[in-house]
């Protein structure tokens, strides 16, 4: 009897480890879980990623997970004109397919995520116009918008062993061993994967909501990664609210920091233009709190200050103004992203920019 019990525990735990340690296994679990509704369906992202962190019942809002619909077809877009390389985040890849028909004048798109595990080598095409769009949400911008960070994603470089001194070689060698062992034995998202596999079921939902509501009503706190807006209508990522975080809309950013950022953007543009790109477009997407203005305090105007800086010589796409019109209808209330309407506003603005770039050469 004890042997049977031990055997069952072994099978259950070993199976859990096997499935949650492999991307294939997690894909299978995720696909299966999201294909179901009710007690055996998954609830984590169905109602917004911030609901999935807090499980506050008030913010359980079904999220539209369809892609943004195609924009009106521009006749000129059918011609073979340009390739668009996008280095971007979930604000784009969660809402648009990698489909050139979304973009005016573009007949080929390559999307590279900031979270890319292995850098890719991108090369502009000789017979086409090549446009590089580098996008990030405001909260991550300062860490990503610098030449080293961009090169780390777009310029795969093999480390030349011969150029390293002995100490560097040892450091490189040991870190490689560490990396290989870690990659093969411990999936980098193992903890989150096990949590998903064991606890991301509809039948846990009421328990999770009860705990979350109790914590909010009795202890006055929510998950530390999340904050509730002052008007109680939106969930935000806490890092975008807390001025102590560099990505916060309310962090104190000096003119020197703005100038440093501008210098970085110029350096990125110069580098990739020298590599053969016809145009480099930057896009910083405002933190939702910067647009929704729920906190009754002035934000740091980061995007506007960069855009208007006299030393900035690039193109910076800022959709804040468009998003601010009827702002609350452009964002999910329980998700860190905009909704389809918000995404469409950004896309329209990008397309007018592309129209200028591709056809008018501006």
């Amino acid at each position: 009897m004890q042997k049977l019990f031990a055997f069952l525990v072994f099978i259950f735990c070993a199976l859990t480890l096997y499935l949650t340690s492999s991307n294939m296994g997690m894909k299978w679990i995720t696909r299966d879980r999201y294909s179901r509704v009710g007690a055996f369906g998954a609830d984590k992202y169905l109602y917004g990623d911030l609901y999935g962190l807090t499980y506050l019942s008030k913010f359980k809002k079904v999220k539209d997970t369809n892609f943004v619909s195609m924009p009106a077809i521009d006749q000129k877009a059918n011609s073979d004109t340009a390739k668009l390389f996008i280095l971007g985040d979930s604000y784009l890849y969660s809402f648009f397919k990698e489909d050139p028909r979304y973009y005016v004048g573009i007949n080929e798109v390559q999307f590279i995520r900031w979270s890319v595990a292995n850098p890719v080598e991108i090369n502009p095409f000789k017979n086409k116009k090549n446009i590089l769009l580098i996008e990030s949400v405001e909260r991550n911008m300062s860490g990503l918008f610098n030449l080293n960070s961009v090169k780390a994603r777009l310029d795969r470089v093999e480390v030349a062993q011969s150029k390293l001194n002995t100490r560097q070689k040892i450091a490189f060698f040991t870190s490689e061993i560490d990396r290989v062992i870690k990659e093969n034995l411990y999936h980098q998202s193992l903890e989150a994967n096990i949590e998903f596999a064991w606890f991301n079921f509809g039948f846990w939902e009421s328990l999770k909501e009860f705990k979350a509501d109790f914590n909010l009503n009795f202890f006055g706190r929510v998950d530390k990664e999340v904050a509730i807006s002052k008007d109680q209508n939106f969930l935000y990522l806490a890092e975008t609210i807390n001025p102590a975080n560099v990505g916060s809309s309310f962090s104190d950013i000096s003119e020197v920091q703005i100038k440093t950022q501008v210098t970085e953007l110029n350096a990125i543009q110069d580098y990739y233009k020298a590599r053969g790109f016809d145009e480099v477009i930057f896009s910083i997407i405002s933190n939702p709190v910067s647009v929704l203005k729920t906190e009754n305090r002035p934000d740091n105007q980061l995007i506007q200050r960069i855009k208007s800086h006299p030393d900035f010589k690039g193109k910076l796409m800022d959709a804040t103004e468009g998003l601010s019109k009827n702002a609350s209808s452009n964002f999910f209330t329980s998700d860190s992203h905009w909704n389809q309407r918000g995404a469409k506003i950004w896309l329209d603005q990008l397309n007018s920019q592309l129209k200028n770039s591709v056809y008018l050469g501006n």
């Binding site: 735990c13 070993a14 062992i181 034995l185 411990y186 903890e191 006055g220 706190r221 530390k224």
Partner: protein, 469 residues
């Protein structure tokens, strides 16, 4: 791999069930492999460092047994040198070179050592001390040299106590790897209950108190005196629950498989004196220092001044064991001083102390005073920079009593935390009478604790404080 993670639950399930499914002769190999996997989850390459000291100590043990006289001493010296050398490089090199270079600059001496700040292997001090206790015991003739390299490796690497103790002695642990442990339902239940207690202490109490302690200590200059008092008391209980919680999980996980590890805590805040506190706090380390350092220095069988010096040496070394930083040295020295003050008072007023300890009020007075001293010493343990320690005491004596809710808690959570602390204290006071690992009440206690852990746990995968040592 931290104990308070789902990864550990899966790992524990696999290893424990496989342990009982496997034939006895293969079990040590399973545990050794599992321990390697457990350790490599932190920084895989550091397994190599651990392996190196294991090889040296393994052969040192065999040669220690084979030789006598001077040669024996040389082998012991080699083993201790190897262990302390690893500690010196990884833990103390930066401290010594940094301090030496600062002094050299101050006195305009044109000598500067190159400064490297190595990443400290997790739990280095723990497994190094455990390895050293092996060679010392073989040298003393209390332990036979282990011939099975795998078993010796397992003695150093046994995963439940690998990174934060209890620091075991070879006489207690090695023979257990040879014993055949059969499934004993009562023992399994008792081990699981102890693990649950450990999880409760860690995620419900320690990590909850950390929500107040960490921000308060991170921003000392903006704290009121009251905030600092609350944060300091909370820290005393945070570190207790954090570390004793780890020990409970380690001892419980071992017990499930049939291993008996030494007890590491015994209601330390019910101590009525500093020596009493050290008989109850981190017992495996304090007995290590007592057995291998204090007694070697002559203990109390020497003149009184020499005895006092011995006590100070042990406590300063104990502080230094915790970290290569002056604040740990001061923390250790403070405990030594408190102990000397107590000894002196007892010698000057022997009757007074005995009389007071016989009354209930007197006992409580002693408990309170001991707790106060320990809490003051923890301030030096918690704050690494002298400048910040100054700020702490400056803010503390200002006598400002702003709303403590400006800490990270609202009034309800503050009250709840205090209730948890009181509950823990009462439990510690009556721990001999309360049988929480009573297997008859297994299911009610298990389900109750699981419920409380889920609802009141703070799940942030916060590492155990003692991992850094």
């Amino acid at each position: 791999m931290v104990f308070n993670s789902l990864q550990f639950l899966v790992f524990f399930g696999i290893v424990t069930s496989a342990y009982f499914l496997l034939a006895h002769k293969y079990r040590w190999a399973l545990l050794l492999l599992a321990s390697c996997y457990f350790y490599m989850a932190f920084v895989p390459i550091y397994l190599g460092i651990l392996g190196l000291t294991i090889v040296i100590d393994y052969f040192a043990g065999i040669y220690l047994e084979r030789f006598q006289g001077g040669a024996k001493k040389i082998f012991l010296g080699c083993s201790l040198l190897a262990n302390l050398g690893v500690l010196a490089i990884f833990k103390y090199y930066f401290f010594f070179t940094d301090n030496f270079n600062s002094l050299a600059s101050y006195f305009s001496v044109p000598v500067q050592f190159p400064v490297f700040n190595f990443l400290l292997p997790i739990g280095l001090s723990f497994h190094t001390f455990q390895a050293m206790s092996y060679t010392i015991e073989v040298y003393r003739g209390n332990q036979k040299a282990e011939r099975n390299f795998g078993i010796y490796s397992l003695y150093v690497m046994f995963y439940p106590q690998l990174v934060a103790g209890p620091i075991e002695r070879p006489q207690n642990l090695i023979h257990q790897f040879y014993e055949k442990h059969v499934w004993d339902t009562d023992r399994v239940k008792s081990g699981l209950l102890q693990m649950m207690q450990g999880f409760f202490k860690k995620v419900v109490i320690a990590d909850r108190l950390a929500m107040v302690v960490d921000p308060a200590y991170a921003n000392l200059s903006s704290q009121s005196s009251l905030n600092l008092i609350i944060a300091s008391i909370f820290y005393s209980f945070q570190i207790y629950c954090d570390f004793s919680g780890y020990s409970d999980i380690a001892i419980g996980a071992s017990k499930v498989m049939g291993f008996k590890l030494m007890n590491n805590f015994n209601a330390p805040y019910t101590a009525t004196s500093i020596p009493d506190f050290w008989r109850r706090w981190h017992i495996s380390l304090s007995t290590w220092f007592k057995d291998y350092v204090y007694f070697s220095l002559g203990g109390n069988r020497v003149s009184v001044p020499r005895w006092y010096i011995n006590i100070m040496i042990v406590f300063i070394l104990s502080g230094f064991w915790h970290g290569a930083s002056w604040n740990f040295v001061i923390w250790g020295a403070l405990h030594g001083l408190f102990q000397l003050m107590g000894l002196t008072l007892n010698r000057v007023f022997p009757n007074l102390a005995a009389d007071q300890r016989n009354s209930v009020a007197g006992i409580w007075l002693y408990r309170l005073f001991t707790f106060l001293l320990v809490t003051i010493a923890w301030v030096f343990f918690r704050i690494p920079k002298f400048g910040d320690i100054q700020i702490y005491f400056r803010q503390l004596v200002q006598g400002t009593f702003s709303d403590p809710i400006s800490l990270a808690f609202n009034a309800n959570e503050l009250l709840f935390s205090i209730l948890l602390i009181v509950g823990l204290y009462l439990f510690d006071l009556k721990r001999d009478k309360i049988k929480v690992d009573s297997v008859q009440l297994f299911w009610p206690i298990m389900v109750g604790l699981a419920f409380l852990i889920y609802f009141f746990g703070v799940f942030n995968l916060k590492q155990f404080i003692y991992f850094q040592f």
